[in-house]
Symmetry: C2
Subunit: 259 residues, 2 copies
């Protein structure tokens, strides 16, 4: 028998999300799977970590024959606990996060707990992939893309990712035969145009509840949003360097300031 | 009288943090200041947003003569509420976040609520600056750098930031006369080597508490960490595109995968 690959699986929708179940079912074909996921939904947690509170970790029976844990923290906390406590003595070959219920294309990568968990693993030098399906519903159809996801996982396990440790993979909401293929692309420019729904609670106190609409500001044909809207799975090689390198020399005049 | 600039001030250490008070005192010399900050410390919240809960916003008297609000949400929520509710009808000339009690240089930008608040404003096309002092203590000395911070704010208000909307500014923990100047640089490669302190709570249940040590993996002399360790204030022009652009063509073989 070959060396079994060790695959860490996590998400941000919580340990009981159907998207996680679907990802575990795919991952187990590729090696030994260990699952650690938040015990509550953690969408929109970004790269949050828990510093001022203790974390709880419980072994549970969530997936038949798969070592699984639920954690009281954020998605990033889950990855840190996996790397530094649960799997401290072992080499993790791959971390996969998802399948997220909803898009993490374009600027959504910034807000996404799914992608932050994968990014945290990539910071630990573990090849990592975040998977997201463009369907926010709880009972989204994760079957249609399962063979594609399996191919991507296999490719990363055996060929690796070049010049990056992190892939942001988004999947269009299409049937099995409608997905046209894969496009490797860049993160589109876009943002959220927000509104807050203002209301009164039962005690007559004002509250504000976030809502909003995503707006694409990018007409490039090399973006994740373009690929998705044309029926392709988007794969964006991603990193963690937020520097705008070509802006450094353009802003050198700040060095002339004196107090 | 000139057109008064409108400056939004926020932070992640909470409305009562001394770093915020110091930043407000500097900002008010440059225009009309509106403060909105979390009602509890929110360090390490990254780009978290609150989607499943209503947010509360209360006008308070925190700073003499300054319009101020405390918010139940994250730093990013604060900026969204400022842009879409409090200052909906107005043009915000600048958003400043901080002064953070502790470093946000290198990879810390990813975890930082201070920087995420500033980044959120930059996504709304508002020039934004996050300020952090390399001193984690509550009673850190924010006076030593106040004239430098004032210079940077004035420069951004009058000259803008080229090819970027966001500056990550970190300040060494030095006396007024020891700070050598400003360096415009890139985010250093570094990460946190984590440990979890394992313990037992009063009910004899196991907990894990995050701790760790930052490790610089970058010996470049053009980085924020290099500038800081040599007595300079670091200024990193930053953005929100996580794509590793040169990795796109190198990973085109993913496009050959078939289910």
């Amino acid at each position: 028998m070959n060396h079994q690959k060790l695959i860490l699986v996590t998400n941000d929708d919580g340990i009981y999300a159907p998207g996680l179940k679907a990802l575990v079912a795919i991952a187990r074909k590729h090696g030994e799977v260990v699952v650690i996921a938040p015990n509550t939904p953690q969408s929109g947690m970004g790269h949050a970590i828990t510093m001022t509170q203790p974390l709880r970790l419980h072994k549970i029976q969530a997936f038949d024959g798969i070592e699984s844990y639920e954690c009281s923290g954020t998605p990033v906390d889950c990855v840190k606990l996996a790397k530094n406590v649960l799997l401290k003595e072992r080499n993790i070959d791959l971390c996969i996060s998802g399948i997220n219920h909803g898009s993490n294309a374009s600027i959504n990568i910034i807000y996404s707990g799914t992608m932050s968990a994968a990014m945290e693993a990539s910071l630990e030098n573990i090849p990592s992939i975040g998977f997201s399906l463009l369907d926010y519903s709880f009972d989204a159809d994760f079957d249609a893309s399962s063979d594609w996801i399996s191919q991507i996982i296999g490719h990363v396990l055996h060929k690796g990712i070049r010049l990056s440790k992190l892939l942001n993979v988004n999947i269009p909401r299409l049937g099995r035969k409608e997905i046209k293929g894969i496009r490797v692309c860049r993160q589109a420019e876009g943002n959220w145009v927000e509104e807050f729904k203002e209301g009164k609670d039962p005690r007559n106190e004002t509250y504000y509840w976030l809502t909003g609409q995503f707006v694409c500001q990018d007409d490039g044909e090399d973006t994740d949003l373009f690929a998705l809207s044309n029926g392709y799975i988007s794969v964006v090689p991603s990193g963690h360097d937020l520097t705008i390198h070509h802006a450094i020399v353009e802003n050198k005049d700040f060095e002339n300031l004196l107090p």
